[in-house]
């Protein structure tokens, strides 16, 4: 038995929470007998065998070494791939951006339920030192909350009290090119590292206990408009992340990095180069600046070892005239081999897009009976259900007001109306410039079987701006104006039945919200609004159960966790993070 390869202290011991000696020894003995339920197998030794003098000495040695090192395992937040695979077994933790690999943003915690949600109270508020919006979804591992903030801040907080444990802030160059705010959507955690992508297109691994930089790799040249805003996804020993920068005419990609060293293992360009399949869907050299950034977090199916990653709009967004063709793989869902990044299949939601219909919304894996599906509420206003075994479209239903498409192709895919094509003068198109939804996270509740999505009812005048490409300069060829023909903007959280594509209920917002949704096993759905409210809704009926005015607009998606056996729900609003629970 090699001491250095065993992580006895991984769960409770180590320097983080030294335990009373007697208890520690008893636990060590138990782990030696039964395994630790993760990587270490049971030894098969009997209690009597473990009582022998030799083993007693070994136990003492192991116990001491975990406290003092150097044999100590990097204890505390040792998040193995095994734990990520079975995140439902530890509902007190929130281990990935969407809470599980399926992307459901569903918490199995049920302490807060539709009967008691009315008595929820704020537990703590953490004010960041930054200004500007927060789009982060915190992770929680064993009582510690890890989140990112404006200008590539990052922090670890005590999940009970909101007190900071460490703070990190990247020293960003002055000439970064953030498109849509100096924002970040969160960490991935693997082993003892928390990893996030930066606005200057680096990927950074921080020590989960101290916030110290473990490795820092440049993925692309930020001066050309490349940046990272999405939360990465951790699996096996890989960190997977897609790039942002469609507004600058980048060539989009999805990368996978070795979590130990930061070495890049593969890259999938979302715009195929010369000789690659799909390259001929771009006119001339337009592929070089074709965009299709993959700026949100995808999902992962361990049973087939496939990533399902969504991509954004082709560049320039409203002007298709010099990029004739379908413009693969813009606005697509990609099924990639997680080990190699090889493309297994793709489905393009909007071909040759001229309305900025990014398809970057989280694609949620749903299994019903023998069906293996992916459901996505797309920015273009349609709710798509796809067979994830082959990428075939099963249905596409409108979930908001749509004027850009009133026909479908042979596969059932909505097709743009000629009359909706943006012009220099422009015309009114629904949904509007920000889409029927956007990056705010949807949620799928396996108990109600409903898909919850924030819908934006907004129509705008879409026009073109015939702008030439210039490296590092804005290149989206579009301008938007509010339309006098249209209704004033409003919004709603909608519950959609994926089996029919029909809306079961909606909860209306006076103006469109940028908040995502969380469903929970307690039958409560949480969301936020542009007026600053955090709202608990009955998952079956959409009836408001409780709300709290946080005093800042919500640009983030909620998550749930538990500390000391008490369920909390957290969300960012304004420049702060809030945690709520029962009194």
């Amino acid at each position: 038995m090699s001491v250095t390869t065993h992580c006895l202290a991984g769960r409770r011991g180590g320097s983080q929470h030294p335990l009373p000696w007697a208890f520690f020894r008893a636990e060590t003995r138990q782990i030696l007998r039964r395994g630790d339920g993760r990587e270490m197998p049971p030894s098969g030794l009997s209690r009597a065998a473990l009582g022998s003098t030799l083993l007693r000495a070994l136990i003492r040695f192991l116990a001491i070494s975990t406290l003092i090192g150097p044999f100590a395992c990097p204890a505390g937040a040792q998040v193995t791939f095994e734990r990520l695979l079975h995140s439902a077994k530890e509902p007190q933790n929130w281990l990935t951006y969407s809470g599980d690999y399926a992307g459901r943003r569903f918490s199995p915690l049920d302490q807060i339920n539709s009967g008691n949600a009315r008595s929820l109270v704020a537990k703590w508020v953490y004010q960041t030192a930054g200004t500007g919006k927060l789009e982060t979804t915190p992770l929680v591992v064993d009582g510690i909350l890890y989140a990112t903030g404006q200008d590539d801040r990052a922090f670890a907080l005590d999940g009970r009290t909101g007190r900071p444990i460490w703070l990190y802030q990247r020293q960003l160059p002055a000439d970064i090119r953030p498109c849509c705010g100096r924002v970040n959507r969160g960490f991935a955690i693997l082993g003892d590292k928390v990893v996030f992508g930066t606005l200057d297109a680096h990927l950074i691994a921080l020590d989960a206990k101290t916030g110290s930089v473990i490795w820092d790799v440049a993925a692309a040249d930020y001066r050309l408009g490349y940046s990272f805003t999405a939360a990465p996804l951790a699996l096996k020993n890989l960190i997977v992340l897609g790039v942002s920068g469609g507004e600058y005419g980048v060539r989009g990609f999805i990368d996978a990095y070795d979590a130990t060293t930061g070495e890049r293992k593969w890259r999938f360009y979302t715009v195929p180069g010369p000789g690659e399949p799909g390259h001929d869907t771009w006119e001339g050299d337009s592929w070089k600046v074709g965009g299709a950034p993959a700026w949100n977090t995808g999902t992962y199916d361990p049973s087939t070892n496939q990533l399902f990653w969504p991509t954004g709009n082709p560049a320039p967004s409203n002007r298709g005239e010099r990029r004739a063709g379908d413009n693969l793989y813009s606005n697509s869902l990609l099924a990639l081999n997680a080990d190699t990044g090889q493309l297994n299949w793709y489905f393009q939601y909007t071909k040759h897009d001229e309305h900025d219909w990014d398809a970057t919304q989280v694609p949620i894996m749903i299994d019903t009976g023998s069906k293996h599906l992916i459901a996505q509420a797309n920015r273009n206003g349609f709710f798509y259900v796809i067979d994830r075994t082959n990428g075939k479209l099963l249905s596409a239903h409108a979930y908001g007001k749509i004027t850009w498409s009133d026909s479908k192709d042979a596969e059932g895919r909505p097709v743009a109306n000629q009359a909706a094509k943006p012009t220099l003068e422009g015309h009114t198109v629904c949904p509007g410039a920000m889409g029927a939804t956007n990056w705010m996270a949807p949620s799928y509740d396996p108990q109600t079987g409903l898909f919850y999505v924030t819908a934006r009812e907004q129509c705008d005048i879409f026009s073109t701006a015939p702008q030439p490409y210039e490296a590092g300069h804005a290149y989206y060829g579009s301008a938007y104006f509010p339309s006098e023909e249209a209704e004033p903007y409003w919004g709603a959280l909608r519950a959609i039945d994926p089996a029919t594509g029909q809306m079961k209920w909606e909860f209306r917002h006076p103006s469109p919200s940028w908040s995502g949704a969380l469903s929970t096993a307690g039958g409560v759905v949480f969301t936020g609004d542009a007026e600053g409210n955090f709202i608990a809704l009955d998952a079956q009926s959409g009836k408001a159960l409780w709300h709290f005015e946080m005093g800042g607009e919500v640009y983030a998606s909620p998550m749930a966790f538990a500390v000391d056996g008490k369920q909390c729900v957290a969300i960012a609003a304004g420049s702060a993070i809030y945690s709520f629970g029962l009194p």
Binding site: D175, P466, A474, A479, E531, G532
Partner: protein, 264 residues
């Protein structure tokens, strides 16, 4: 090559002026970042001033205009560079291109002579009844928008339209980044649990509550689930001033008064 860090002093000049190529590039920037409020061609819109006027209230020099574009104007809907939710943040070079464009479309003299501002003021506080609901420099009513700066921030056409068709401007959806405080002057009618009817304008509203002012300028703070009824309308409480009520000459005089006040 333009320096990437520009520390502008008040007398600094645009390094790109008056390069026509820079003006063309600036026109693209304008469409993407500015036309939302200032209108295509910079002629102003329902929310942003006409930038073709050579006399600008804030941008007294190129250097000041650069600062305004970069930092916004506090207390107004003019946001800082890159924060209006549309368009990406502009580089310094792009801001100078934009300024070159704005200078290129400026018209030196006002196109139409203004009316009699003195008479306009008399009408505003007298027969036209404007001051019953609108305040200028601390004098007037509170139900409608405060109008001290409106003459400097709206086009003549937009002001005239607001008087002739007051409800039409209410229907202009405001995009979120420009509405730090989003009063849209929607008309609200409520009936309280004890049967009291209140009509007024919404000061603010969310899903659960409404803050409103009635015609007696009384503020009500109401929870919607404790009301018998709640109705909201984008039909303005301001009466329509058609030509029979206020002729073109008198309206022109009022506009002249607003522009005079707004320029100060």
């Amino acid at each position: 090559m333009v320096a990437t860090t520009v520390a502008v002093a008040a007398d600094d000049h645009n390094p790109l002026a008056p390069d026509p190529k820079a003006a063309k590039a600036g026109e693209y920037e304008f469409r993407i970042n500015c036309a939302l409020c200032h209108g295509l061609g910079a002629h102003g819109g329902g929310r942003g001033p006409d930038l073709t006027r050579a006399q600008k209230k804030h941008a007294t020099s190129d250097a000041v205009m650069f600062q305004i574009i970069n930092n916004g104007i506090p207390g107004t809907a003019m946001p800082a560079n890159g924060t209006n939710g549309q368009g990406v943040g502009m580089t310094d070079e792009e801001i100078w291109e934009l300024i070159t464009y704005i200078r290129s479309v400026e018209v030196k003299a006002p196109t139409k002579p203004l009316g009699d501002a003195k008479h306009g003021k008399e009408l505003f506080y007298g027969d036209a009844n404007c001051s019953l609901c609108h305040m200028i420099n601390g004098k007037g009513g509170r139900l409608g928008p405060e109008l001290t700066s409106v003459g400097g921030t709206r086009t003549v056409e937009a002001i005239i339209d607001s008087v002739r068709n007051p409800s039409r401007r209410l229907a202009w959806g405001l995009t979120e980044p420009t509405k730090e405080f989003a009063q849209e002057y929607e008309t609200v009618m409520v009936v309280t649990v004890d049967g009291k009817e209140i009509k007024g304008v919404a000061l603010n509203e969310d899903h659960f509550s409404v803050q409103m002012m009635d015609t007696n300028e009384r503020i009500y703070l109401l929870e919607k689930d404790r009301l018998r009824s709640f109705q909201k309308s984008r039909e303005s409480m301001m009466p329509k001033y058609d030509a029979a009520v206020l002729d073109d000459k008198d309206l022109g005089d009022i506009v002249a008064y607003l522009i005079n006040v707004g320029a100060k």
